[in-house]
């Protein structure tokens, strides 16, 4: 096998992984702040793809811009979903029961969104036609699909923006404080419930934007969430549940693993590599590559 081929696979994997990374950051933020495993994350991504599509069809908005424009409405939607649904599930004070109940609630939400979208928008796959979807940048012998390259660059920019927000702004610091210790944060005058709403809103907005970027090169259909939700879980677990830089790296690694699996396994088995990595991480390092919090005895 030529070295160029290997580089090609690595490059493709990283490009795809950038978008996975953006999706996974949203999931990690929600888990880190709220301790909620959001099963419906993939469905919000799917809705983001559709919104980007409608922007493109009705206003001929370029999907790269459309992806950015999904952020405000999905932030509001996330806030509402948190206020109206998740904040109402308490589990009677037992954190494990609350986690289970919220996970099942979001599973229900996921079923409703997937199937309601099928009912309303029909299962027919849609696509956004762009000039760059079929073009490639050539770096010597290595070809980089243009749509994926742009999506990758945008994902990096958005991830960097989130990072700056979390580390440099007061609101971001309050958010991190609520994640570390909700009780202590509330003693400092931080409205933890509002922070949860904020985290859920941002998490949903990020995954919707990632969906918009994905829509530049991936077919849009109601059941698309199923292909990605598990990848997001894997990326987040890989990075350490709740760690945002971890989720970012996790997303890149998933893209790489998917791409490199093709070197040794047939196409249908592409995702087995991902799941094997997932199980290996769970068994041998459940706190993830970047996890701070070890499980207590």
């Amino acid at each position: 096998m030529a070295l160029a081929e290997l580089v090609q696979y690595v490059a493709t994997g990283l490009l795809v992984g950038g978008v996975y990374a953006l999706m996974s950051i949203g999931l990690a933020l929600i888990f880190g702040v709220m301790r909620v495993v959001n099963f419906a994350q993939g469905d919000f991504m799917m809705l983001g793809m559709y919104l980007t599509y409608f922007y493109a069809i009705s206003g001929s908005v370029d999907p790269l811009l459309g992806a950015l424009l999904t952020i405000p409405p999905f932030f509001v939607l996330g806030w509402i979903v948190h206020r109206g649904l998740l904040a109402r599930v308490t589990g009677g004070g037992d954190p494990q029961r609350q986690m289970d109940a919220q996970l099942i609630l979001t599973l229900g939400l996921s079923l409703v969104i997937t199937n309601a979208t099928t009912m309303i928008l029909t299962p027919t796959p849609l696509g956004i036609r762009t000039g760059y979807a079929t073009q490639a940048f050539a770096l010597g012998p290595v070809l980089l699909n243009q749509a994926r390259s742009y999506a990758f660059a945008m994902a990096l920019v958005l991830a960097a923006a989130v990072y700056v927000f979390l580390t440099r702004t007061d609101l971001g610091k309050a958010l991190r404080a609520s994640a570390d210790d909700p009780e202590a944060a509330s003693y400092q005058g931080i409205d933890v419930r509002a922070m949860h709403g904020l985290a859920f809103g941002i998490g949903i907005a990020l995954v919707a934007a990632a969906g918009g970027l994905l829509a530049t090169y991936y077919p849009i259909e109601p059941t698309v969430a199923g292909n990605f939700i598990v990848l997001m879980f894997v990326a987040v677990v890989l990075g350490g549940l709740g760690s945002i830089p971890g989720a970012f790296v996790g997303g890149l690694v998933i893209g790489l693993v998917q791409s490199l699996t093709l070197l040794v396994l047939p196409f249908q088995l592409q995702n087995t590599g991902v799941f094997i990595v997932f199980l290996l991480v769970l068994y041998f390092r459940p706190q993830g590559l970047f996890g701070r919090r070890a499980r207590t005895v």
Binding site: V89, G92, L107, G108, S110, N115, M119, L279
Partner: protein, 588 residues
């Protein structure tokens, strides 16, 4: 005994109702709905064994459903084997799969377990696609329809499905009323407390997982023959299978065999009717209904309908009926004299060291515990007292050093194994099984010695009586006072028939009267021939109680000896008691 017969009678009534419906119903479509109700109820019951009783929420239980379907059908296709035999093979494969999945996965706790279970059906889906089994149809066998489970009469499928349901109900009932059932519920409520009471968490969860894989495989096999006729990876390993399982179990209520039954009887007809009436115009209506049902139940009755209704009925019936509760008083110091410590060494700790990240919790701690003594372990906060207990009863493995019990090295044994050898313990903050009655809490301890439920109940009752709690047997831990909770923990620990008990601050949070009662009870424990090691902050109480004291400070053994001697030790007074004590002693 009466409740035992009642349980079986209720199951018989359910099966009789099922039979009645099967013969009352005429239309083919109604038969189909009936078959589906029976099968989904059985599938929910299968899931309930591991996720309801044991509380290990599995999001991948369709793995076994799919294995049942694929193995049975592939055996018909490839080997011409009848599904009646194929089903048995499929159960074997599913149970084997449960072992292979369980070994690594049960090392994970909580949310990690749930996430890991998600991956297995996805892997099976991919592998089945890759093996070329995207669509496997059941070959028609017109000559021997019955032999190949291809009945013309839809009623036959009803009866088959009802049989599967009846068997799963019976299995659930047997588990619920056996030692395993009590242990699984203890694991769900508090796995560490269960482990300390002699419950081997891993083995129990594995047993439950295997027992829940078997009916799921049978349901999968029957479902293919009765409903689908063609196996596809999506249809048997897909998310809709687990969603439907979760819906029937959670809407009805997990942790009881009636939950999935109620859930299936409600949800399956609703979704079927919607599917046939508006399903053409609105594909996906079933998914919307299931999803909405999951959301509504989590928002308004997360424990499920069965528990919600039961609670309502109980609180209506039990209003104002609170029995007068007797005040627990200290028992007379009857036999305290007959229980002097012997010189036999029961437990030896040698050079025990344990470090956590950046903290040496224990360094080079050595001491002996003699038979039938009361040994007090004192020391300021953070001295390493609880860490020492965690090492002694197996929750922690020391970095260096050795613990011997009855002359045998026990370092590295699980707490459950240590419990069975005779080391019991209580916790600093009482760890109860909140949804089990006081009696059932103590029975979990008694099961360490006796597998028979009736004998464990007698032993538990005796332990409760010894601690003065007999009239609280049917209460739930949530309704107990601090003193009663501590006594219940002590009774639960005694029910394991220990040689040695480790009591972690049993006097904390008690009133002066409560302390008197507790001290008398601890003396009574020792009078029964049990050795006691006790951690305490309150010096005065321990001076009254202990034969010997060990003082820990910053993970080191500072002093050891008779109480009077230790309290005279200037090092101890300086480091632990402070200068005020020194002044007070001087003034005497």
């Amino acid at each position: 005994m009466a409740s035992r017969t009642r349980g079986w009678l209720a199951i018989a009534a359910v099966v009789a109702t099922g039979l009645l419906l099967t013969f009352a119903v005429q239309e083919r479509y109604h038969h189909r709905v009936l078959t589906l109700v029976f099968l989904w109820a059985a599938m929910g019951l299968a899931w309930n064994i591991i996720s309801g009783y044991a509380g290990q929420i599995s999001f991948g239980h369709q793995v076994f459903f799919g294995i049942g379907a694929y193995v049975t059908v592939l055996l018909v296709v490839k080997a011409g084997l009848t599904p009646w035999v194929g089903m048995v093979v499929a159960v074997g494969v599913a149970v084997l799969a449960a072992v292979l999945i369980g070994i690594p996965t049960f090392r994970l706790a909580g949310i990690y377990f749930g996430l890991a279970t998600l991956a297995y059906p996805l892997i099976f889906r991919i592998v089945m696609d890759w093996l070329g089994y995207q669509e496997v149809a059941i070959p028609m066998k017109r000559e021997q329809p019955g032999w190949f489970m291809q009945f013309n009469e839809p009623r036959s499928f009803d009866l088959l499905a009802l049989g599967v349901l009846a068997a799963t109900l019976a299995l659930s009932r047997v588990i619920e009323t056996s030692r395993l059932g009590y242990r699984l519920r203890a694991i769900r409520e508090n796995e560490q407390a269960a482990e300390a009471m002699g419950v081997d968490g891993f083995r129990c969860k594995m047993a439950a997982y295997m027992l829940s894989a078997a009916p799921a495989a049978v349901v999968g096999a029957v479902y293919i023959h009765a409903i689908l006729f063609i196996v596809t990876p999506e249809a048997v390993f897909g998310l809709l299978v687990i969603s439907q399982t979760l819906v029937v179990s959670l809407v009805g209520g997990a942790g009881t065999l009636w939950g999935p039954l109620i859930g299936a009887a409600l949800m399956v007809p609703v979704s079927e009717i919607l599917d046939t009436t508006v399903g053409d115009r609105l594909p996906g209506i079933q998914g919307v209904v299931y999803g909405a049902a999951l959301m509504l139940i989590m928002l308004y009755a997360p424990e499920g309908l069965y528990w919600r209704v039961r609670q309502a009925v109980r609180s209506r019936a039990g209003r104002g009926g609170e029995a007068a509760r007797s005040v627990i008083v200290a028992p007379p110091a009857d036999d305290a004299v007959a229980s002097a410590p012997t010189q036999t060494v029961l437990l030896q700790a040698r050079g025990v060291s344990k470090a956590f990240i950046g903290l040496q919790a224990l360094s080079d701690v050595s001491f002996d515990v003699r038979e039938r003594e009361i040994l007090g372990v004192i020391g300021p906060n953070g001295a390493g007292k609880t860490t020492l207990f965690n090492v002694l009863n197996g929750f922690l493995i020391p970095d260096r050093g050795e613990v011997r019990f009855l002359g045998q090295p026990v370092t590295g044994l699980r707490p459950s194994a240590l419990c069975r050898r005779g080391v019991g313990r209580t916790f600093q903050v009482a760890r109860t099984f909140p949804h089990l009655t006081v009696l059932e809490n103590v029975m979990v301890g008694a099961f360490a010695r006796d597998a028979a439920v009736s004998r464990a109940r007698v032993a538990a009752m005796a332990a409760l009586a010894r601690m003065g709690l007999a009239d609280r047997a049917e209460a739930f831990p949530g309704g107990l006072t601090t003193l009663e909770l501590r006594l219940m923990e002590l009774a639960r620990c005694l029910a394991t028939a220990p040689r040695l008990v480790l009591l972690d601050e049993p006097l904390a949070g008690l009133s002066a009267d409560g302390i008197d009662v507790m001290i008398a009870m601890i003396r009574r424990v020792r009078a029964g021939g049990v050795t006691v090691v006790i951690i305490e902050h309150t010096m005065q109480a321990l001076l009254r109680l202990a034969d010997r004291l060990i003082v820990l400070d910053q993970g080191r053994r500072l002093a050891e000896g008779a109480p009077g001697q230790v309290t005279q030790d200037p090092g101890v007074i300086e480091a632990y008691l402070g200068k005020r004590w020194l002044a007070r002693l001087a003034a005497r």
